[in-house]
Symmetry: D2
Subunit: 433 residues, 4 copies
Amino acid sequence: MHKYAREAYKAGIRFIGGCCGFEPYHIRALAQELAPERGIIPGILERLNAGEVVIGDGGFVFALEKRGYVKAGPWTPEASVQYPDAVRQLHREFLRAGSNVMQTFTFYASDDKLENRGNNLKLTGAQINEAACDLAREVANEGDALVAGGVSQTPSYLSCKSKADVKAIFRKQLDVFIKKNVDFLIAEYFEHVEEAVWAVEVMKETGKPVATSLCIGPKGDMHGVSPGECAVRLVKAGAQIVGVNCHFDPMTCVETVKQMKEGVEKAGLKAHYMVQPLAYHTPDCNCQGFIDLPEFPFGLEPRILTRWDMHKYAREAYNAGIRFIGGCCGFEAYHIRAIAEELAPERGFLPSASEKHGSWGAGLEMHTKPWVRARARRDYWENLKPASGRPQCPSMSVPDSWGVTKGHADLMQQKEATSKEELEQLFDKSKTH
Amino acid sequence: MHKYAREAYKAGIRFIGGCCGFEPYHIRALAQELAPERGIIPGILERLNAGEVVIGDGGFVFALEKRGYVKAGPWTPEASVQYPDAVRQLHREFLRAGSNVMQTFTFYASDDKLENRGNNLKLTGAQINEAACDLAREVANEGDALVAGGVSQTPSYLSCKSKADVKAIFRKQLDVFIKKNVDFLIAEYFEHVEEAVWAVEVMKETGKPVATSLCIGPKGDMHGVSPGECAVRLVKAGAQIVGVNCHFDPMTCVETVKQMKEGVEKAGLKAHYMVQPLAYHTPDCNCQGFIDLPEFPFGLEPRILTRWDMHKYAREAYNAGIRFIGGCCGFEAYHIRAIAEELAPERGFLPSASEKHGSWGAGLEMHTKPWVRARARRDYWENLKPASGRPQCPSMSVPDSWGVTKGHADLMQQKEATSKEELEQLFDKSKTH
Amino acid sequence: MHKYAREAYKAGIRFIGGCCGFEPYHIRALAQELAPERGIIPGILERLNAGEVVIGDGGFVFALEKRGYVKAGPWTPEASVQYPDAVRQLHREFLRAGSNVMQTFTFYASDDKLENRGNNLKLTGAQINEAACDLAREVANEGDALVAGGVSQTPSYLSCKSKADVKAIFRKQLDVFIKKNVDFLIAEYFEHVEEAVWAVEVMKETGKPVATSLCIGPKGDMHGVSPGECAVRLVKAGAQIVGVNCHFDPMTCVETVKQMKEGVEKAGLKAHYMVQPLAYHTPDCNCQGFIDLPEFPFGLEPRILTRWDMHKYAREAYNAGIRFIGGCCGFEAYHIRAIAEELAPERGFLPSASEKHGSWGAGLEMHTKPWVRARARRDYWENLKPASGRPQCPSMSVPDSWGVTKGHADLMQQKEATSKEELEQLFDKSKTH
Amino acid sequence: MHKYAREAYKAGIRFIGGCCGFEPYHIRALAQELAPERGIIPGILERLNAGEVVIGDGGFVFALEKRGYVKAGPWTPEASVQYPDAVRQLHREFLRAGSNVMQTFTFYASDDKLENRGNNLKLTGAQINEAACDLAREVANEGDALVAGGVSQTPSYLSCKSKADVKAIFRKQLDVFIKKNVDFLIAEYFEHVEEAVWAVEVMKETGKPVATSLCIGPKGDMHGVSPGECAVRLVKAGAQIVGVNCHFDPMTCVETVKQMKEGVEKAGLKAHYMVQPLAYHTPDCNCQGFIDLPEFPFGLEPRILTRWDMHKYAREAYNAGIRFIGGCCGFEAYHIRAIAEELAPERGFLPSASEKHGSWGAGLEMHTKPWVRARARRDYWENLKPASGRPQCPSMSVPDSWGVTKGHADLMQQKEATSKEELEQLFDKSKTH
């Protein structure tokens, strides 16, 4: 249908439809393909209500850190202003891979975070948020994608600032999103459901659809609230889409969202569900997720998921009733493409980037070596147990488990850079924990 | 010195020099920083003769495959024409990470390869080679980098075509490189030294400096010629720079180049040395390298080197007397940056991308969590043994070992796509091998 | 005290006591050392009531299978009759290592089991049980050990025979134990608490102290009854000592007994606790334990615990309030000795076999090589992460999970040998499960 | 044939032979079965000259250390005097498993070793050697086995004593062996071929057949003499059987003996070959073998070979032309049985202990659980990659590599116990090496 729509459009036809055998989803495919030309893109709730699969994008901070545009530690998104070409290119890769959502690259772009621990940026949050909205919109308009304005947890909350103070932080970012007219809002990466609820309350003031994802696992948030209860609180606060992102690997995240769904349904409520996990295997995590793994953030390579792992994830998420399926840290375009390829039968089409990818390795039929051509088949890749090439490394780690959460003195955030003395103290603590 | 030069330039000063205490390498640093403005870039041999470290770039086919612009299997570089923005962006990331060489994205861009096994491209080799030269030059001019035109092994050689035929293939690519006036030439990714010698002979006709790297390990080329003997043959044929690229992990490649150096010195010859290895750990490879690993090419993730592995590689390569140090498949910008950071003391400056990276994890001093701030130190990352998170996977694989090389019927290349029957036969063979 | 008692005895002194500073436990030590000479050995309940640590023995079927006297599959203990020297020697090794309990080698020595699936033994259960009692008694009398008569789960129960039938099976074994006057009784290796309760009921008829251990993990018995509830039922039926044995690794077993203890205490009951785990690491087990691991029973070698693992286990069990601490399948004498060495400070003495073992590797001070002498220290062994030397093997397995339990047709036991057709069907099932 | 001979004998027949179809090896089988009754056991050279497979036994020091009768560190065999029952039982297990050689338990039973580093034994070497001969002979007479008197490397050699001094040490042990009339002699566990040659020279004086095995790997002895050259020197000195034992895993040992065989054949000499490797996987060893692995000697458990690994080893050794095939440290009776079972087709009979073992897991047909019965087949066990259950451990280690050998001050042996100061110095060295 996509091809037909495109060909018809290229041929100059402007009244494009169908006859016998055409089902609504066929029509939807036509609309989807020609959405950019028509400027009519269905909204996030419209899509989810129709039962469509909405594919998210991947994590920008990790991908741009590797490319040289984000600094690990502060993790702030000033690249939206400083290196727009690099940010735009990454948006395009995800769009091409099948993403229907361009999240503004505004993670940690709140003023309190931008000046945390000596992060001497000369840019204001507003500047960064505006630039990020423009980049997301520019690329979204090149395909079938929506722009989502994103807020995330704040140093202010961790430092025990008041509810009003924390809400004011969110409001500043949201003002830009409304001015730039994003399509919907996502509050993501919240470790404490309390703070997420506050974010939802502010977001609801805007009238835009609201999605919320916590960075929690099956054991619940940092205050011990279970996933089911977290979801109920978020839905009651007004979130239409709830789920989890970051901190855990795909299967763990799907499991957590399943619990959320059970909680919501048990409470007699209704919601849509989203999942945007890590692209890292994390079977050894405790409740804080991959932050506590000793490999975080500079030694995670051996944990990166293959595209075939992503096929399993996409299927599992779909079977769990989740329809907004994307990624977070560690995801690159080929991971998103794998989701789109796995769900192509359900969605009826492949993403643009599949032009450069034979499903399940079929492109290897063109390889020079005969034994590599012999790998051009699904069962080979589906059953492969990839080796690490690291015989002196373990397969699982023991995570740090300092057990401190909001309210603990060690977690107070500050503007000043960490001093040498503070660092020495931390090293000492790390030996005894 | 770099900062001084830049600041002086910004201040409008155009006669910039030094006085007491200035050494030649200080002057070189000024020249390096302002090279783009002055349009005077020292050539590859000038640099190597002066004992400078020249940092190469990373592998384009693997990086762009993940981004959705190259098809695994044919591995051809038509993206230079089709998606110039994506190719340009990747060049820029490597430049920013410290690369002094922009290799034209012309791997496998020979006409015989472009039409191999049903790779139905409508583009000619000349079109691709020209576009690639323009992109490499555009980005090289933005920094202190040279453009290297690259040729690689051909299906014609594998299919036992004549020496004249194979040379004609190389000559077609080289005609473009001369027209576009690249700074030097690289013949890379040769499994058989015989074919590489042919390539050198054609390249020498151009008068440009010639570098050659084979994709072999310590056991030598596919005909069993040892690394030392390979190097001698290449140097005698006229290559000024010899080494290896691809197929093996960094430590294995450095070991191989050491053997080449010993061979060359034993023969009373002189040369410069280059190494551009994989960014994958491959302790379990046989002589054919990572091609034979069961994980090639879609399950290599657990083998990806961390940035800290790259520090060790850079130091090892430097200590071995290798001065042209870069990467191949699997390398991303942050891997190249790690090389530049490790060798910063020798070179006297950090790459631009270090703006977004604290050496040895120092940026983590700005992290929100205290236990992650405690990781902001060299010995933590230097000693970490990263876990795979894959407890059901092995640490080493058994490589395929079909033992066929040039001349074997199974290795004959063809224009036609692999047929279903041929695939069935390959699957059967793969079970018995 | 042990040495003093022994020396005094050797010197012909027969009135041996103490004066100022002597505490009850000193007297107990004298009694312990000279128990064999005096023929007065305190009973199991006496010891446990006094807060003593009672050390169990290791698993006989696995140890004797490796030595060539037990057949894996039927796992029956006819060696007590056929090869008494081999059985006696194993008893002696455990006694020397510190065991205070000699369990009669009567595992699976019920008549219904002895004739299961073509196990053509010409011996009756009575013959085996009698021989086993004699051997256990002979060795127990050589040291400070009690004889425990043991019964275990029956094929009759699995095949849905009546309560009366199953009890009759137990009664036949117990008749021998009473005739041979064992010191106490153990019902061990029960997967279903229901059957264990039946065993307890029969054992209580004898008037002997009753211990019961299930082969379950933290998820409870095969009918889903939780460990806490299982323990309550057993205590209510009359067992004075409850716990678990076999099927899981030491830490998992301790965790399970902890749950039992909590259950018993919550119910306002009282009991002593025992634990006799595997000497295999089993982090990847499901509820059925190591039976389901693909390595069972002939590929478990890489999972064998070191003596240092046993130190941790002994400490953990002790801290959990467990006082009857022993082992099961995989345990050899040196594992039991490690328990005795870890708890030597609490018990006040080392086992005889420590004569040939320097604690924490101290014996290595006498090694020929200086770098091995450098390993003669606790922190070296305590922190060692031993490698498997198997780079092509995983660290965890996926257990079989057929999910069949008592009542399922596949579990019906039979006298006849498994036929070829039945085997074929099983192979087929194993592929689809 | 074995069964026929036994049945005939039991039936009172004393003239037992064959008619049509009987080949020499059939007659040999009859002789073998009835050897104990007839008191006629063919010698070691007779067997090897006839092309028979001679199966060795396993390592006594490691097996008895685990059972509590040998002290790790000094590793001396005083148990022959102190605990004859335990030593006899181990001999019997190996005999039952198929061993044709009972090695006297006299490893390190030279007087200089018995008093090394504070090993305060009150026993003389002569006492131990005599007791060991008696035990070996007693058990050998119970089956088809020969007694081999064994000497091993001496502290005197390591401490640079003269050739005459070292030879005198050997001579003292040999005097006992001759007095006790052992069947042949083995000089085993030599790291330096020079010392082994001295041992051979002394052994040749006795007129007994001489076997010699070095504890070296493919890189040769501690002075860098290659395996081939080592073997040539030993054969020239008079050894009729040469090979390796201990220090490396089976496949590495077989590879080393192959090199020995090539060396001997290239030199135009003739010999028989023996191999008695570790039962531990040691792919990560350097030239010193498992002594240097950080797991030696108390953390080797995860490396223990399964019985199926032994099948592969036996086949590989046989195919390499080795006919004296046994084991060393880590071997238990079931490992030896696996060798005998693998080579049963060539030898024509199974060992006694196979009475309790179905080949390739066939005994599991009698298991209670259907999914374990499904494992009663060869391909299951042959292809199993056993997991370690240790996800936080590596698969390979980095061996210690102090690089000291005979003549280095660190290797001087002494009578006195290692002092605290010496230990401290060793710990410090171990950190910097």
